[in-house]
Every structure is written in C-alpha cells, then in structure tokens.
C-alpha cells in the first residue's frame, strides 16, 4: 500500500476487560458467563427503584493491579460517575462509570514490533459496570441481564499506535498482562475482552490530526488488524479524491471483510455525566497501593529479561515461553528436574506448542505434566533412548497417558549403544547395498544419509546416532 508512505495512521484503542471476580461489581449476583438468561439478577442489577449499589472491593483491587502493571499513576482520590443514556440493556438509564476522576492515569506499556521496542501510552484505566445483552429478533428484542453489573475496566490508549501491526502487538501485550495478573480470561469470542478503535490519517510530517472514525464490533485481534487496514485504506482513498472524512462509527463485518457506517455523529454524544450520588468516593492511600503491589506476579517484561539472562535462550524462544505465565511456569518446573534449558526449550517449542495449537488448548489443559515431561527428557539426555524414539514416546504418552519409562520398557525402546552390535548391523547393510556403497565411494557423499536411515530402520530408530555415524564413517571412508 503506497498510500501508507504518504499518510500516517493515528490509532487509539479502547479495551474493555471483564474482571474475574466471583460476584458483580455492585451486587452479590454471581459473575459468570453462559448461565441461563436472567438467572444471575437481583433488584440492584435489574435497576429497581430504591436499590443502592455497594462496591466490590476485589474489583477495585483488580483494577489497581492493572494500573500498577501498566505503570499508571494511581489516583489518591477517585469517584464514580453516571453516564446517562437510554438503551434497554441498561435498566437504570445510566451506567455507573468514571469520568473526570478515574482510578489510574498516565501509564505505558512496551511493545515489540519487528525487533524494535516501543512504548504505547495508557491514557487512563477506569472501573465501570457492564450492560446486559440484547438479542435482536425480527419482531422484538430479548434482553438478558446476567451480564449487567459485571465489573469492567476500560483501558484507553494514547493515540500512539501508527499501524495495524502495532495495534495487534499492543493488544497482545495487554492480554498477556491481564492473563499474568489473572484478572481477566481475555476471551474475545465470549466478550470478556472487547476492543474499539479510533482511526485518523494525516499527511506524514503534519502536526494536525485528521477527522477520526470509530470502529467497533471486531471479535479477534486479527479482526482488529484487518479492520484497521480496511479503514486506513478507505480514508486514504477518500483523502486522495479530495473528499471529506465523516466523523462516524463503523461496524466491522468479519465475514465480508468490510465495515459499514453505524451512524453519523452530527453532534457528539451527550452523556450528561455527573458524580454518582449513591457511591462514596474512594481514597487510595500508599499503604493500600503497597499491599496491591506486593501481590503482583513477575510481569511479562521482567520474566522475559530474566529468561534471557538466566537461561541463555534466544529472544524468539523466550518470547514464546513467556507468552503465557503458565507456559513459563511449565518450562521452569521441567528445568528443575532436567536442568538443560536449551534442550527443554527446543522440545517445548517444537513439540508441546505444536500439540497445543493443533488441539487448540492451553498449557494448563495439557495432558503431560511437567514431571512426566521431565522424565521423558531425562531418558533422552541420559541416552536411554534416542531423540527420535523420544518423539515417538512423546506421541504415545499423549494418547495413552502412560509414563515415558513404562512405554520405553514395554516396547523395548532402549537405545542400542553397543558398538559391536551396531557395527555388525552396518556390515550387513553395506553388503546388502553394494551399488550404493560404490556410488558413495565414487563421490556421492550425500548417500551417507541413506546408510544412516538404513541403520535406524533396522533398529526402529534405537541406534545411538553418534555411534552409528562414527562407525559408518569408519567403514565407508
């Protein structure tokens, strides 16, 4: 896209993350996805007159964790506000949110794009309640209020993002932090993580921002990336034709790969925010902040740096290993028992990650636990079995759930390390393949692999590779 040479995209993202509390933010109803409709409701979250909200302490603490993890300044005094609008999934006629006194402000997170590091500013993180869910039928609309009152944090980025790739990296990083903190399960399909984008273009080198549009309804990170590409191109084409960009909200259609306007904003939304009189302000002292800070786990950036230093692994592998806290923990558990980081990392990246992506599961649901995996790796490092047999045993462990040792014993997979035995085998193979031997001796050196293969075939992969190579060379060269 050569238009991208000419125009600079300015992108800001608004992310809503549902917090993994047990109960809702202002009432004691259970906070749970997928329950039968309206079974998790009470007079408070149904917006009955005369009810009063009471703030869930855990929700505040989760929001504080995210604020600290994204290097935000935590407000010493913060308040809730009413955002007024009428929509049937919002029974009170207003959403309890935060306005001019948010919980966290002025943070930043580090992203990596093409080996370059960059900081994206966090404007603010505030607490609010989710609305219910509407199901639009042809005749009427059905409402389920189970989601109404589920605690959300809204994370607003600075307009520091200049490409769809950076947007993708930013979202991935936010998700990683939320998951490390265990405060959100980040399931975009279930809506526990949602993202809206603001996009405008300006000529490169220009200071003034262009007119921005808002993009909604993306339900995956790749969807966000695609929607941004679409919108950047659309705006660039309009600008090239000298046409104005309308200030409007667009809905992304993932199947069609296009966005259509939802509404044109003639005037900006008028939510008539005012301080929520039903909730008292929050005062957050340094003692409380210190308490929360003490509960923070090692965060992704710190873990990444430590893995590089402590285990001497490459950036590529560390990136994968630390992408999820549970995966990093898995690696470290195995390393306690095998203590060969490079070897373990190679196996996790090539074997375990392959299985996880094939079966679309996370490491916490992976059948082979660290101790069992370590047992397998130890059988390879102490040369009981060859690496090739190791891969076979790994596959068998996946299907049968048996331990590596019992599979090796039952199927007699212990590797052949006896030089005399291997040598005997090699002599047989050489006498069975005189043609290949001649060709090899006349210079066809790549036939070496053929002879290796023959030995492995005859031993079902059990011949010690180093010994086989050494003895083959002895007889061929």
């Amino acid at each position: 896209m050569d238009l991208l040479e000419k125009y600079e995209p300015i992108i800001g993202l608004e992310v809503h993350a549902q917090l993994l509390t047990e109960s809702k933010i202002f009432c004691n109803c259970r906070n749970l996805y997928g329950a039968p409709p309206n079974t998790l409701t009470c007079p408070i979250c149904l917006g009955m007159p005369g009810t009063l909200p009471v703030l869930n302490r855990k929700a505040v603490e989760f929001a504080l964790k995210m604020g600290l993890a994204t290097n935000c300044q935590i407000a010493s005094y913060t308040r809730f506000a009413r955002k007024n609008y009428f929509y049937p999934d919002l029974p009170k006629g207003y959403q309890i949110s935060q306005y001019d006194e948010p919980l966290c402000q002025h943070g930043r997170i580090k992203i990596r794009v093409n080996d370059t590091e960059k900081y994206i500013g966090i404007t603010r993180i505030h607490l609010e309640e989710d609305a219910g869910k509407s199901i639009h039928g042809s005749e009427d609309t059905l409402i389920d209020f189970n989601r109404c009152g589920v605690p959300l944090i809204e994370i607003v980025s600075e307009p520091d993002i200049h490409s769809p790739t950076e947007a993708y990296a930013y979202l991935t990083k936010l998700k990683q932090i939320l998951e490390y903190l265990e405060i959100c399960d980040c399931n975009m399909e279930e809506g526990s993580l949602r993202c809206d984008a603001n996009i405008s273009l300006r000529l490169k080198g220009q200071q003034k921002f262009g007119v921005k549009t808002e993009m909604k309804n993306m339900n995956s990170f790749r969807g966000v990336e695609r929607a941004l590409y679409f919108e950047i191109e659309r705006q660039a084409r309009l600008l090239e034709q000298g046409q104005p960009i309308l200030k409007q909200t667009l809905l992304w259609d993932e199947d069609k790969g296009e966005a259509r306007p939802m509404r044109t904003k003639e005037e900006s939304d008028d939510y008539r925010y005012f301080p929520e009189p039903d909730l008292v302000p929050l005062v957050i002292d340094s003692e409380w902040i210190d308490q929360i800070r003490a509960t923070l786990p090692e965060l992704p950036d710190a873990k990444y740096e430590r893995f590089i230093k402590q285990y001497a692994l490459r950036a590529y592998e560390v990136n994968l290993l630390t992408s999820e806290r549970a995966l990093a923990d898995y690696f470290e558990e195995v390393n306690k028992l095998v203590s060969n980081p490079i070897f373990i990392s190679k196996w996790i990246v090539s074997e375990i990650l392959r299985v996880l992506s094939q079966e679309k599961i996370s490491i916490s649901n992976f059948k082979i636990k660290p101790a069992q995996f370590a047992e397998l790796l130890n059988l390879i490092t102490n040369e009981t079995i060859t690496p090739n047999v190791g891969k076979e045993v790994f596959d068998k462990m996946l299907t049968s759930g048996e331990s590596a040792t019992s599979i090796v014993n039952r199927e007699q997979l212990v590797q052949v390390r006896d030089d005399a035995k291997i040598e005997e085998l090699i002599l047989t193979i050489l006498s069975e393949n005189p043609e290949e031997v001649n060709r090899y001796k006349s210079g066809k050196k790549n036939l070496f692999g053929f002879f290796m293969g023959q030995v492995m075939k005859k031993t079902q992969g059990k011949a010690n590779p180093e010994a086989t190579m050494r003895l083959l060379k002895k007889h061929l060269d």
Binding site: S23, L55, Y87, H136, L142, D144, P275, V280, L282
Partner: protein
C-alpha cells in the same frame, strides 16, 4: 437565561420524549423561568468553596467479593410487561438508530 425551542427539543430527545410544537413553546417559557430562578445562586461568591458532590464525608465503603443467591425467575419477571421464556421482551431496537 433564555431557553429556546431548540434547547427544549434537545432535552426532550435525550429523554426520549416526543413533544408537539405547542408543548415545545410552552416548556421553553416554563423552563426559562425555572432556570432563571435557580440562577439566583450564581450571585453567590463560591470562589472559596470546594465543589461538593456528597453531603457526608465517608469514603471507601466496600463489600467483600461474595456471591449471594440471585432472584428466582418468577421474582425477576414480576414487574416485566412482557416475557418470553426467561428473557425480557422489549420493542425492536437497533443500536444507534434511536438517538
């Protein structure tokens, strides 16, 4: 402060009220009187007064994160004008076209 018909129309739209032109005229006169009355407060010097959103000075009222039983469906729908299975039924709405 003059409250013109346009302002009344905007307030009515935000409140999802549809008013006749006669009502718009009538309410603009009435609202103007009300606003003028309240505007007497502007004469007070509040430069030394902190804005007040709450009359009591308590802070940090919170509850532990505990689940308590929700309502049973019959209670939930007791006041509902329309119910279908366990859903509330409302007239068809398409987000964004209402405002």
């Amino acid at each position: 402060m003059p409250i013109d018909v346009k302002t009344v129309k905007k307030i009515a739209d935000l409140a999802k009220l549809s008013l006749t032109s006669a009502e718009l005229e009538q309410y603009s006169t009435q609202l103007e009187k009300i606003v003028d009355y309240v505007e007497q407060l502007q004469k007070l010097d509040t430069s030394q007064v902190q804005p007040l959103a709450q009359v009591h000075d308590t802070t940090n009222v919170m509850r532990p994160d505990e689940v308590k039983p929700s309502l049973n469906p019959d209670e939930v729908f007791q006041n509902a004008p329309a119910r279908q299975a366990n859903y509330f039924v409302v007239p068809k709405v398409i987000k964004g076209t209402t405002a």
